[in-house]
Symmetry: C2
Subunit: 242 residues, 2 copies
Amino acid sequence: MWKQLFICLSVICIYGETKYYQEKQRNEWVHKDDGNEIGTRKSHHKGPSPPDHTKLVAMARYVLHNCDWASIATISTLPAIEGFPFSNVKSVVDGSMANSTGIPYFYMSPLDFTARDLSKNTRATILVSLEQTRYCENQKYDPEDPRCTRLMLSGKMKKIKENTNEYQFAKAALFERHPAMANFPADHDWFIAKMKIAQIAMVDWFGGAKYVPVKDYLAYNYTGTEMLQYHNQLLHKFDNDV
Amino acid sequence: MWKQLFICLSVICIYGETKYYQEKQRNEWVHKDDGNEIGTRKSHHKGPSPPDHTKLVAMARYVLHNCDWASIATISTLPAIEGFPFSNVKSVVDGSMANSTGIPYFYMSPLDFTARDLSKNTRATILVSLEQTRYCENQKYDPEDPRCTRLMLSGKMKKIKENTNEYQFAKAALFERHPAMANFPADHDWFIAKMKIAQIAMVDWFGGAKYVPVKDYLAYNYTGTEMLQYHNQLLHKFDNDV
């Protein structure tokens, strides 16, 4: 009798183990596909949550550091809309992933709208929003909800001289966050520009916009490593896929 | 002996079933959390892929219809940066989810930056990008990659008169796509604005920006139902969660 029971139980066990391995495989497929979605789902897509909304400087630095692109507003030189405010998408860094400076750096070509406008009038506003990082979507905040923090840096754009330490730093930082730049067309006369910030406006809570003191913003020592971790995970996933 | 083997195997089986149920629970948590990520992971977050890049009008209409927010550039009236180009995040619709018109509509308050600027100078540029829909991320395009389509509508902003058919249509469309608007503070003197489009610039492929004829853009009959499906799925998920 025990022998028959043993044989029956063996069959049940084998079936059970098969189900377990199928479920485990299903989980691995799901998490393998998570390559685009690093980090927990209920929280900020790319790492820890933003700082408390009352910590204006920390919040402002957090938002810029965690955005890969910005919209940059300039005064248009296009014939049909000369003098109009114009806006363009530009990939951005605020320094390297491990060394955030709060200064926005861009890789520009004289061929693009933005550089052409800036060559006549260097005034610009750079806009970044936590909607871009999926934070707002995950929190179910409308993009215009004041808790969906947006930051507007206004000032004058300035070309950085090649063969300076800042140029080397900024170029390395841009290529680190945006590896595609290494393959941008070589004959587009690329240069690096940054903003000399005159005003920082931010909406991060109810009650209207706040102004963040530029000196405090630049002096703040940002130590968050979420972007570095996120990009390392992406690289790690890429290595696994190759 | 068979009795001892049976007892041993029972213990092993119970352990195996426990692992199976843990793995199954883990899978359920993962898929429950998929509520924020409707649609397949490898494809466009919100539905079918964009049109072929050579179909400029179809592409331009697709991009605006599939974006929930835009950056809107204006000429600033803020004291520290008067005359600077400025940019802000605004939730947008181009009509209802089932009835796209290509005209961008916004819900505005005289208290916000944008409305204050527009009250002095109605010129604006509205910028939307497929980066906002996760398409570019899923394709592994850098935000500045020319295949990560961005659309710039430039023109003059105009307030829509209340008690007109257009006002009713636009308000319903805004509240449909942005239900949070129903709870925006009632004392903020909300009004609805649209753009009278003067120029449409778009980058959707290599070789520089293209200009989309405004008449053709407005006349195009956009029939994509992806936004409607996406929002219905979100509502359905909400009903299941309640």
